[in-house]
């Protein structure tokens, strides 16, 4: 659809701006979502001290600072040719588990939860965290706050600061754990594990036992049959902090498994003229447009992408929940976009169990937390951000300054899939030029499931994510505008 050109000046205004184009019959021909992409990072980082990258990159995004911090730290391990000590790796992974605990808790109860707990048909004024509290009660509300704070506390104890950590260094970390801290983290992690189990039960009671919700989850507008991607350990179990990048196909069979060093052999980025965002796809399969299926290189990352790309969870309780998810939703892979919410809770449980495993590890209090670095060179780092696979790649000069930096961020990995999900949701709701009520809701649910992170770290009053849907007729004339928070 060459003729759809959106003025580059306006493309970044209004986060979550969506354009829907109708055909001659008034049905949906296409839909596009514009994600504001911040530019110029490579130039910005050029000539800076490589050791500063974990701090600098954690400022790229107000949502996933911990993920950027460790993707950068791991890229520096590699660039300085140093293997972190075993204790350092465990401390990093423990801190990372804390990040997943608070981030996933926030998403389920505050952001995704309103769609289900309160209900997709509830009035907009109720579809927020306060509506959730009204439904589940103040006592549970307090538990939500408490456990989100525990996740942050775990991160803060290890990282120095809850939101913008300062602990990652090439070859290790800057700070170890003492016995009191171990005790405190263990108590919090246990409580988080129980709360994660409770949350899965809540999801069961409110969502899975409600036929109407299950029908929506399994309904056609919310299905997408793409490839799936995520980090896995040596047993092909989900891992957030380390491992190989695994991609599975539409039959849940392994398509490729590669080390992050080979990312450019496996992932390419497609450019569309209406968006600054580049759309990643599987290079060997190729870009076939915004279509799913075996012949299209589009893949999904994030909670459901990770679960689909793995053979299970590495901890017992989460693995049980993993199996239950697939049994309930008809086997692997699950293509239901709204199942991202459920997958997120399985991961929440895993994060708490993994935190407990790590904190009980006798090595966790060792003072061997850093190895000496080698000569500067080129380095790759990969982690799973809550929202999906995140890659940092740096080239250092001989003085240890950044010569080149490239990042592939999680939300961007899902950009192609999100566009399709929006189009599918719109197709179900616009027929013959008639726009059904609830379009905004259903479209929002389609991309909300991915937990996208738009304007990385942009904070400006007044806020609350604005959403604008513009519908154009087949002559590309504006036909209707729907707005929220604008």
């Amino acid at each position: 659809m060459k003729q759809i050109l959106i003025d580059p000046i306006t493309r970044l205004e209004g986060h979550g701006k969506i354009a829907i184009f109708l055909d001659g019959k008034g049905d949906v021909a296409n839909a596009y979502m514009q994600i504001p992409e911040l530019r110029g990072f490579e130039r910005f980082s050029q000539g800076r001290r490589a050791e500063d990258m974990p701090q600098i990159t954690s400022r790229i995004c107000g949502v996933c600072p911990v993920a950027h911090h460790f993707a950068a730290t791991k890229a520096l391990d590699d660039a300085f040719n140093v293997e972190p000590t075993s204790t350092a790796k465990k401390l990093r992974e423990l801190m990372y588990a804390g990040y997943f605990i608070y981030d996933h808790t926030l998403h389920f109860y505050y952001l995704g939860g309103p769609d289900f707990v309160v209900g997709p048909d509830a009035p907009a004024a109720k579809r927020n965290i306060l509506g959730v509290i009204e439904k589940v009660g103040v006592e549970i509300g307090k538990e939500v706050i408490k456990h989100r704070a525990y996740g942050q506390k775990i991160t803060a104890i290890l990282g120095g600061k809850a939101t913008h950590p300062v602990c990652g260094l090439p070859g290790g970390v800057s700070k170890g754990l003492n016995k009191d801290e171990v005790k405190e983290i263990e108590t919090m992690a246990k409580s988080c594990r129980d709360f994660a189990q409770f949350t899965l039960k809540l999801f069961d009671d409110i969502v899975l036992k409600n036929k109407k919700y299950v029908d929506i989850i399994l309904s056609d507008p919310y299905q997408l049959s793409t490839y799936n991607m995520g980090l896995v350990d040596k047993n092909n179990k989900v891992n957030f902090y380390d491992g190989m990048i695994r991609v599975t196909d539409q039959k849940a069979k392994e398509y490729v498994k590669f080390d992050v060093k080979d990312y450019y052999k496996n992932i390419a980025e497609h450019v569309e003229e209406w968006s600054y965002i580049k759309f990643p796809y599987l290079k060997k399969i190729g870009w076939k447009g915004f279509v799913d299926g075996k012949n299209s290189g589009i893949f999904r990352v994030g909670p459901l992408g990770r679960l689909n790309a793995a053979d299970g969870m590495a901890t017992p309780l989460a693995d049980k929940e993993y199996k239950r998810l697939y049994e309930t939703l008809g086997g692997k892979p699950v293509n239901a976009t709204l199942a991202f919410h459920w997958a997120r809770l399985v991961e929440l449980l895993y994060a708490t169990e993994r935190a407990l495993e790590l904190i009980k590890d006798p090595e966790i209090t060792s003072d061997k937390i850093r190895n000496p670095v080698g000569e500067p060179g080129e380095g790759y780092g990969v982690v799973e951000a809550c929202r999906g696979t995140l890659i940092h790649h740096y080239k250092l000069d001989k003085n240890g300054l950044i010569d080149k930096a490239n990042l592939i961020v999680a939300t961007v990995n899902n950009a192609g899939a999100m566009n399709m999900s929006i189009r599918k949701a719109a197709m179900g709701l616009i027929k013959g030029g008639k726009v059904t009520d609830g379009l905004l809701n259903m479209v929002e649910m389609a991309f909300r499931a991915y937990d996208p992170c738009f304007g990385c770290a942009t904070h400006s009053f007044p806020g609350q994510m604005p959403m604008e849907v513009k519908i154009y007729d087949n002559n590309k004339k504006l036909y209707k505008t729907l707005r929220k928070n604008l």
Partner: protein, 158 residues
């Protein structure tokens, strides 16, 4: 009166970081045991965590207000906004966070939350640490207004 002053924004996103520039300058003028000056690269829930426990909070941030020009400095009360902060899809607004905390019985939310807003019509989309001339010119006024705001609550000589 325990007061917290937070420069809010992203220091590597050009004009978006104006609040942090103001906070850094304030540190040179204000030194009082009851006044904490810090920066916040975050919104919503995390911002609430940072201001909880103080009697008064002053947030310095870029604001996007219709019919105002870039670089104007305005004082607002949090209640002037229908929704505030956290312009991203993975957080709730500060107002929502506060309402939630109150519903759950939190008693330590500052009774006064003032915003010193520097009008910025268009969010930068390119990384950088420098402010544009118009926004940089607004910094002294924002510093002055914030000092006056603090003086309403705390006596100090700058």
């Amino acid at each position: 009166m325990k007061t917290i002053v937070l420069g809010v924004g992203n220091p590597i996103l050009q004009d978006d970081g104006v609040g942090i520039h103001v906070a850094n300058q304030l540190k040179q003028h204000v030194n009082h045991p009851n006044v904490t000056i810090d920066e916040a690269l975050t919104g919503g829930m995390n911002l609430l965590d940072l201001i909880t426990g103080y009697d008064k909070a002053i947030l310095i941030d870029a604001v996007n207000i219709r019919n105002e020009k870039d670089g104007e400095v305005k004082r607002f009360l949090l209640s002037d906004f229908s929704s505030a902060h956290s312009d991203n899809s993975h957080d709730v607004s500060l107002l929502e966070a506060i309402e939630l905390a109150k519903t759950l019985g939190e008693k330590k939310i500052p009774c006064d939350i003032v915003i010193i807003g520097i009008v910025l019509k268009k969010m930068p989309n390119e990384f950088g640490e420098k402010l544009s001339p118009k926004i940089a010119a607004a910094v002294p006024k924002a510093v002055e207004m914030t000092i006056n705001e603090i003086k309403n609550y705390v006596n100090f000589s700058s």
